[in-house]
Symmetry: C2
Subunit: 305 residues, 2 copies
Amino acid sequence: MEKLIERIIALKNPTVVGLDPTLAYIPEFIRENAYGKDGKTAKGAAKACLEFNKKIIDAVCDIVPAVKPQCAYYEWMGPQGVKCLKRTIVYAKKKGMYVIVDGKRNDIGSTMQAYAAAWLGELDVEGEKCTPFDGDALTVNGYLGTDGIRPLLELMDADQGIFVLVKTSNPSSGELQDQALADGRKVYEAMGAMCEQWGAESIGKYGYSNVGAVVGATYPAQLEELRGKLPHTFFLVPGYGAQGGGAKDVAPAFDKRGLGAIVNSSRAILTAWKKENNPEDFAGAARREALRMREDITKEIASIG
Amino acid sequence: MEKLIERIIALKNPTVVGLDPTLAYIPEFIRENAYGKDGKTAKGAAKACLEFNKKIIDAVCDIVPAVKPQCAYYEWMGPQGVKCLKRTIVYAKKKGMYVIVDGKRNDIGSTMQAYAAAWLGELDVEGEKCTPFDGDALTVNGYLGTDGIRPLLELMDADQGIFVLVKTSNPSSGELQDQALADGRKVYEAMGAMCEQWGAESIGKYGYSNVGAVVGATYPAQLEELRGKLPHTFFLVPGYGAQGGGAKDVAPAFDKRGLGAIVNSSRAILTAWKKENNPEDFAGAARREALRMREDITKEIASIG
């Protein structure tokens, strides 16, 4: 998690741009140009998304510390989309950005080893090594307990991280996550406590471990409660903007140094050009929205660093 | 789920072959041949896996109703691996097999729509449609509640299905899943009850809905308990064989018609050639092990159909 925190401090910006490039978010001139000889196919769509992502990355890489590509929107385009995902990751890293792969992966131990290697590690083909996706961080689902997390702990270096789903931003998150346990805690609190436990051996110089938690902006009371209970757990906060969370809602996720959380925005940044009615300058519009978001959030939290 | 159940009845075989093709499972002659001009790269590895998968599928498609490719082992080979996954799915379906994609996907509603389309549906590129992966069924994680399941329910036809993680086969599954809730139930029971609820409107002619559950062979008492409590929920049962579950352990997952569950085996089938010390006939060895497994399980359950 160190590298992420350092970039947040350097840019004085605790936000991440979610790269969820559905075709409806991409200006027509990019799409038409991308379809070219491949036509309106998965390959054409993936080309449009890659072109769009690169321009968004170019527009924000000097002001935003991280991007968060959401696997679903790439898998949706089949293998061509997954290739686009890898190229997006490689491009963002080349531009100095920290890449949080939003895959919410989860499985039993032996299988989780494969996921860990896929997203944060290496493939070893009989001695020859390559990096399958080369992410910096990965979102994961902890329903399977420690077995499904340990392979990640064993593989990560200090700069890498995972974010475990604790209290998600969606309306129905409470159906399971808010269930009261016999010991008085809620399910999400039990999951949060596991994050602290899993991270106990990787607490770095900023006081946070490389096991973070996903806690939604749409549940500010839980954000505040969990910030207090999970002092070494860095938060990835979705739900700001389009889902309804505001700057005041996310403020409780931060500590007294303005650290402890990174807030995601996808739609509002990717589609800022629609509000400006300005498809040609979609990248400029994204940058303006990213700056507005930084301003919006930083005015509600302690000075960063 | 109908198509799966019909194939189980037709072949009198309630088992599924897990296609988790790590390189160590693949005989050397296949690997060496596949590396060819691509060398020991992700592409070479993916070629070896595809060749291996095809031969396994050829060897079992007339006796086993379904295959279950585990996404992790393909993502591990990067975009080339994901292409191999798609080709494996297409090949297995062409051979008449039902394909359960083991991706344990999960996300908020809008994102889950993309996953649903990716794995069970279509990509619509401005009116031109294609099938990204074309699975018959998908494993999912229900930690996010109904929002993360509804897009799948809306998309599936009667032949398709999802399997929600309820009680997983790994040693630490109880850390969260066995926690007692204030209302007296365990977390896995609450998740199981949600499966019944999610499936309530899709109960088909065999009495099962298209919302199934993953329940591990390594927890036979919970299998029996859940079979009783979830009468309309079809079970996908991992953990037989290498993980320690035996035929007597999985028997309680079945109803009085020998239906209600499908038992997975990956390693024991894919590496059967090692026991026989017979790499050249790895496919024959897989078939013999698949027949042995069918015999082993069917002798413990009611006659199928």
